[in-house]
Amino acid sequence: MKLGNLIISGIVTGSIYASFAACVALWYRVSNILNLAVGDFAMIGALGVDNLVSVHHWRVAPAIVVILAAVALSAYLYDRIVLRLAQDGRTRQEGIVVTFFFTFALSFFIEGIAEVLYGTNVHAAPALWNGHSLSLGGGLHVDRAGVLIVAFAAVVGLATSVAMRRTMQGKAIQACGENFFGARIVGIDNRRYRRLLFIASALLACVFGILESPITGYTYNSGAAISLTGFIAAAYAGFQRPGKAVVAGLGIGVLEALLGGYVSANYADTILYAILAAAVLARPSAMGLDVVPE
């Protein structure tokens, strides 16, 4: 029974990781940049909605709409100003530094803004589906927020994987990641895809933050850990297959829950990270990570 409940809560967190992993992998395919700020968009979603609702007494629906619009606009501006200068000029910056550090900086920036706007306390967006956790029989329980998360993750995951395989746009996205120049040859505007997917992944992250925060609560610096775990899950798929990234994300979520339940509540994360690091080092080539993108 304990095991069952741990697995359920693991699947819930795992769905978040999985979705973020898919976001990271998808955008990496287009831009060859790792989005390490994706968790910070989730944090902004949670804290922003909470702020509008509990401080400014807005209703939940308009608060969510406004926050989503603000995030989309910020993501758009970031692409237009920073990424355009970095990638679309005469000299296209490349290499491992670009892969990591632009979005690290963005992550810092968002956290800095959140710290100023929302302080350092724990906040959570209001639950969208109120009530006690649902009983699944046999002593198993699941949070209502958890149900929403898993459902949303499943819909998003399914939609993305179908789109990647079955649509021209999906194939065009893959082509962008495969060959920057080759994509432009057939008239694919990779800059547009980079922008659209960046905005889309920011919005998705934002929605997940709003859905998940009633369970765990967020602070201004919660985003980094989420991005990182999503990023690790994506790394397991070598940033190539969003589908594989989803599986890795779910696995990490369940592992984390089990470690917390059976090994040590205090050291669950620490052990998890140690296992992940060991896994990367065990077979670096298996993940396609041993090659720096050219």
Binding site: M168, K171, Q174, A175, E178, F181, G182, V186, G187, D189
Partner: protein, 228 residues
């Protein structure tokens, strides 16, 4: 003249005062030439003299100055989709395929400028014809393009170019790095494309090979057209 507007010119492709430079280094200076519909023009000259930069400039893939007109329309700079949408497709030097995607996906992406519907792309006449031209690719369709040999990759690249249903097909160094037998096969395919009524612009280092097919040559030296 307003960009994108129709002019009275009857040429398929008119290039006027095209210049391309990379940073401070100029690769192409003030190049002008015309290609009439149905011609097969060879752009010849030693390597490193700016031939590739000319076709890339025409395709809008590098920053350019000057004017490019396609079937009477002035090309918009900075819009990568403009040339393929108006009938000019480039088969670039070194193929530039998507190595991890299947051969089928590589070819079908050639249709990107015409349609966003995968079904319509696959059933289109141009897509079918492109594949018919290279029967040797038929049992390779599910294979990753990166695992093909150089010659097969060149065929995929040409098929991808044809899938866009271009009126002018530009082919940049189609035989680079290919063995003699494969080069012949490539030229044979180009001849059939030309017979089918498409205009060809071929970039070749070796004039001997290009002249088997070309009706006219434009010679480039040091980024300047020396003979048109």
């Amino acid at each position: 003249m307003e960009r994108g507007q129709l002019t009275a010119s009857s040429n398929a492709l008119t290039v006027s005062n095209l210049s391309v430079s990379y940073g401070r280094v100029a690769a192409v200076h003030d190049v002008s030439f015309k290609v009439a519909e149905g011609e097969c023009v060879a752009l010849v000259g030693p390597n490193g003299n700016g031939k590739s930069s000319i076709v890339m400039g025409i395709a809008g893939l590098v920053q350019r100055r000057g004017r490019v007109e396609i079937f009477g329309r002035v090309a918009r700079a900075g819009d990568v989709a403009f040339m393929p949408r108006h009938g000019f497709t480039l088969v670039p030097e070194r193929r530039q395929l998507y190595p991890q995607l299947s051969v089928a996906d590589n070819v079908v992406l050639g249709c990107f400028s015409r349609t966003r519907s995968l079904r319509r792309a696959v059933t289109s006449a141009a897509h079918r014809q492109a594949l018919e031209l290279f029967p040797e690719l038929a049992d390779r369709m599910g294979q990753k393009a990166g695992t093909l040999s150089g010659g097969e990759q060149q065929m995929v690249a040409i098929a991808r170019g044809l899938a866009a249903d271009p009126r002018i097909l530009a082919v940049d160094e189609p035989c680079l790095g290919l063995a003699e037998a494969v080069s012949r096969r490539v030229y044979e395919a180009l001849a059939r494309i030309h017979e089918a009524g498409r205009t060809l612009l071929i970039v070749e280092e070796s004039p001997v090979r290009a002249l088997q097919l070309a009706t006219r040559q434009v010679e480039v030296r040091n980024g300047v057209v020396v003979r048109a």
